[in-house]
Symmetry: C2
Subunit: 392 residues, 2 copies
């Protein structure tokens, strides 16, 4: 039997390989995942909300529903979009099976095979995985503490006639933890307009800000319907429900509807009702404050120990929110090799090379702080520091 | 902004248009959908199961999980596969977001653009919709009461070098309600072997058999890993949970894992646990018997009224299970026009043309009997009979 050409390009993600190593070494302190802390799920509140839905509306919750999602949930999502400075109605919202599906559907909407996606360099591993089955290629544009470098972006676009979409994570980026400045966001829209390209703004972490002012979303600066904003309940409520969304112009949402209908008909009706009912009865702000307090403590601690223990050659980035600390090492250090040594000492992270579209940088690493308790953070970072000192 | 070429091919499904007409005419007797009767959902049992999961295991249920799905649910799915005569282990099972996603992932796995999918003629509208975004074309092969015509299939394959996959619904087919004979299933495997093609066996309705013997699944006759069996909890438990599955050779399942991971990471963990726990505590057989009893009564009644009232020129098919009665009319009758008249009289169905890959037959219609109560079935079919008599 012959498989499609796209299958040749696909291989298991590096993170999955790391997860296998961790599974083979029980007791490992893992900074590898990108998971929310399950102890912070509002489990009891979700249980109560779920029970109410299934008692009162099971014939709706267990039945097929609308492809774009439940209007009442989409209405609530418009309120989350208002926090991002975006005026939206339910016609601007499509519910998706996590924001991962939204990345896939966006790729389907804008890319033919051999087209090119512009990403940050490095960028979210899962997005790179989502792009691959469509036989597109991607070009990573470097960034600094303000976001993607706009001169480099212009240069790339000038030389990449097949560029069809720009994918960015402007808040607490995965993997670097960086947040784009307002100026850089404005400039991105300007350049995207010039080249008439859509911008996919992946905002999975936007609500997880520990300090500082929220920067207006790129979508809020959009005047010609070029920005497609992706949101998700995964990091703020629960990833296991698989509910994310797209916010875009109405005409574009109708195109998402066609693709979504073809792909999986609709996202789970019950999961949407669970979130809807949870939001009816609970204060999301309060829950977010609870999450942010814990994650902030863990970030503070991780940064503190890194500062104290890591050799000075290791450059780390201070994230104002989200889940990750990014570390860059001298270029002769290969962090895939480092990982093997770390696993022997029962500490795990994700080697940074996985996040580079071209795989051309192997000397960085991503540390997640959202799931490990304080004593493990201290112990794990100290072990990494020892390994780094040995290697540098 | 430029959209991908595939977007030009996509248009709203005809069923959705019918649904809009129904919504605009409240009180319409609808034979149009393909929905299970929500009154037959085991709502209380699912509520109890859900509450237990969220009380005891919320930190797992609300968290990310494995791309291929929960091992304990996959184990239970192997038992459903055993009912189909298939020996499977959990390594042969991938959980998907409904079987709709399984159709999409299968298309991604086997088809490059411009390749051809062989389907029954007519075939499931949702599958045709799932194929389209991949810029494939499809050729429908006609059938009779035993299933697809094998001579015609051979002829088509001889002349279609770009054929890469055969998609069939051998049990209570959507839309015709027909079930393939064992002989035809064997012959299909023989021909697929000769042309070295994969067979996608969509078995969404297999468990909804009212009478007669279960015919061995095509997968159970597979000796060289060529058959990919799609199953779903949508028709037997609840479509709103969006849980379906693929059963295939282990190597192929690993490829589904790659595509599934790229597409939506995983299906909802909680939904999988709800079904798993429901199956722990309840007798699925008993529930199936309850569903089948009601659907059988409705089929019997629909067939009885059709027999009594429809003009003799209307040829109908007697389904041994599933949800649909298929009616073929003289070729001068256009059922899209007929639908408009029916909607005026507050009765709806799906015009058959939508189910033909080439849209080359407009004189048939699909009637669903799973959701309407007895008095509505009688009234609705009588109205249709009057309209048919006027038209013929």
């Amino acid at each position: 039997m012959k498989f499609a050409n796209r299958m040749e390009e696909l291989k298991p993600s590096d993170i999955r390989e790391v997860m296998k190593m961790i599974a083979a070494n029980p007791g490992t302190i893992s900074f590898a995942g990108g998971l929310p802390d399950p102890n912070l799920f509002p489990s009891e509140e979700i249980r109560v909300a779920t029970d109410k839905v299934l008692k009162e509306n099971s014939s709706i919750a267990l039945q097929y529903g609308l492809t774009l999602g439940r209007p009442s949930l989409r209405e609530k999502i418009t309120k989350l979009m208002a926090r991002e400075g975006v005026k939206a109605t339910i016609d601007n919202i499509a519910v998706t099976t996590g924001s991962q599906q939204a990345i896939t559907l966006s790729t389907m909407m804008f890319l033919d095979s051999d087209d090119v996606i512009i990403t940050e360099n490095p960028s979210y591993l899962g997005a790179l995985a989502a792009f691959k089955p469509f036989e597109t290629s991607f070009v990573g544009v470097n960034g600094d503490d303000e976001g993607m470098l706009m001169d480099e972006l212009e240069e790339v676009l000038k030389n990449t006639p097949k560029a069809k979409m720009i994918y960015v994570i402007p808040n607490f980026q995965n993997p670097t933890g960086r947040t784009w400045s307002l100026e850089r966001r404005k400039k991105l829209i300007e350049i995207a307009s010039k080249y008439d390209l859509p911008i996919i703004e992946d905002n999975a972490y936007g609500e997880v800000r520990f300090e500082g002012e929220r920067v207006p979303s790129i979508k809020s600066l959009d005047t010609d319907g070029r920005v497609i904003h992706l949101g998700s309940f995964s990091k703020i409520l629960s990833p296991g429900l698989r509910v994310g969304w797209v916010c875009a112009d109405k005409d574009i949402i109708l195109k998402y509807e066609l693709l979504k209908n073809a792909s999986d008909l609709q996202s789970a009706e019950l999961a949407q009702m669970q979130i809807d009912e949870y939001l009816n009865e609970n204060d999301l702000e309060e829950h977010l404050n609870k999450i942010k307090k814990v994650y902030k403590e863990r970030r503070d601690l991780m940064i503190k120990v890194i500062k104290e223990e890591f050799p000075k050659e290791a450059k780390y980035y201070y994230p104002e929110g989200g889940m990750f600390v990014w570390v860059e090492l001298p270029s002769h250090i290969n962090t895939r090799d480092l990982l093997k040594k770390a696993i022997e000492r029962k500490v795990a992270f994700v080697p940074g090379g996985s996040f580079y579209p071209k795989g051309d940088c192997e000397s960085s690493l991503r540390l997640n702080y959202s799931t490990m308790e304080n004593d493990k953070i201290v112990k794990g970072i100290k072990i990494l520091a020892e390994l780094l000192k040995e290697s540098i």
